[in-house]
């Protein structure tokens, strides 16, 4: 089953620190830019919504054509955003939780500056593996 999915981690200061196209569909050149644009536009909605609930997983907060944006906000207000076309909410929630654990491990590195780009290739590999597993 092919699915489009774009995953972005945005820091507290609205700077993307990690991006990955994790869908299994064939990638098109313009699709990637469009996905990023939609995700950034959804940031405003996240900002308001984040203060109304103490849960970390905010479900589907925005839609674009047939794609849905789901967001997970961590305690430090780092946002994990996923643009996808599937309806598997539990899978997405588990995906976010596992990526959250990976993110904390990266953050705990004293040499990692919070809010800077995540460049670890191991992290990239693991995120893609998790995406194949849950999405």
């Amino acid at each position: 089953m092919t699915s489009t999915a774009c995953f972005i981690i945005v820091s507290r200061n609205d700077i993307p620190i990690y991006e990955a196209e994790v869908g299994s569909a064939a990638k098109r050149e313009d699709a990637a830019q469009l996905h990023q644009f939609v995700l950034h536009a959804a940031l405003d909605i996240v900002q308001d919504l984040a203060w109304t609930t103490s849960a970390m997983f905010l479900k589907a907060i925005d839609r674009f054509n047939d794609l849905v944006v789901s967001v997970y906000v961590t305690a430090g207000h780092t946002r994990f955003m996923l643009l996808h076309d599937s309806r598997n909410e539990d899978g997405i929630k588990s995906f976010f939780q596992e990526v959250h654990e990976l993110y904390i491990k990266i953050l705990l590195n004293p040499l990692y500056l919070p809010g800077s780009r995540i460049t670890s290739s191991h992290f990239d590999t693991k995120v893609r593996a998790l995406a194949r597993k849950y999405l």
């Binding site: 507290r12 103490s54 961590t74 305690a75 430090g76 207000h77 939780q97 959250h100 904390i104 491990k105």
Partner: protein, 194 residues
């Protein structure tokens, strides 16, 4: 053969489970490390306020990480969205994990709406430190103030946090108070959330 018990070796830190972490760390090791931190920074700066700023920055880095880690570990993935919530989180959970006990008291300032104070009879980091007379108002608790600032700012409650000595009647050593002054936007948002 003795000692062949296998501890699983992980190739990369990302594979290691987060786990509960060590509950206790050697106090003397920490005191030694902290004193070296202060001494190193003393050689790098020209005046006291810069030294305090440097200690605060060191604490800020700790605070940012402690916030994320504790919310995941101890609070089951729930964020704090209210002022009192985050303050009691700092006062009990953070203090308990870092210093082994909850802070002595959490008070709201009487003069200004945006001031709160966390008091402690003797900060753990100051236990083996004495301030020479010519350094006046310098307080090594700036490190702890930095930790609190890191937690608050990353949770979305920007604040100016400072550490002060408060002399107490009938006691030789003064108490330490961490003064937290929240930014305007925090109060406005609190009022909006009702």
């Amino acid at each position: 053969m003795i000692g062949t018990g296998k501890i699983k070796q992980y190739a990369n830190v990302l594979d290691k489970p987060l786990g509960k972490g060590k509950q206790e760390v050697s106090l003397s090791a920490f005191a030694f490390l902290f004193s070296e931190l202060v001494q190193y920074n003393q050689t790098q700066v020209d005046n006291i306020s810069e030294l305090e700023t440097r200690l605060e920055d060191a604490g800020y880095a700790v605070g940012a990480r402690v916030l994320e880690l504790l919310c995941q570990r101890d609070k089951g993935n729930r964020r704090e969205t209210r002022l009192l919530g985050i303050l009691s989180f700092v006062h009990s959970t953070v203090w308990k994990v870092l210093f082994g006990k909850v802070a002595d008291s959490l008070e709201k300032g009487t003069e200004h709406e945006d001031e709160y104070m966390i008091s402690e009879k003797e900060l753990l980091v100051n236990r083996f430190i004495s301030i020479p007379k010519d350094m006046g108002t310098f307080h090594c608790g700036a490190f702890v103030a930095g930790i609190v600032k890191g937690v608050l700012e990353n949770a979305g409650f920007p604040a100016v946090v400072t550490a002060h000595f408060v002399p107490v009647q009938g006691q030789q050593r003064p108490r330490t108070t961490i003064l937290i002054k929240f930014a305007e936007e925090v109060l406005r948002r609190e009022a909006r959330l009702g």
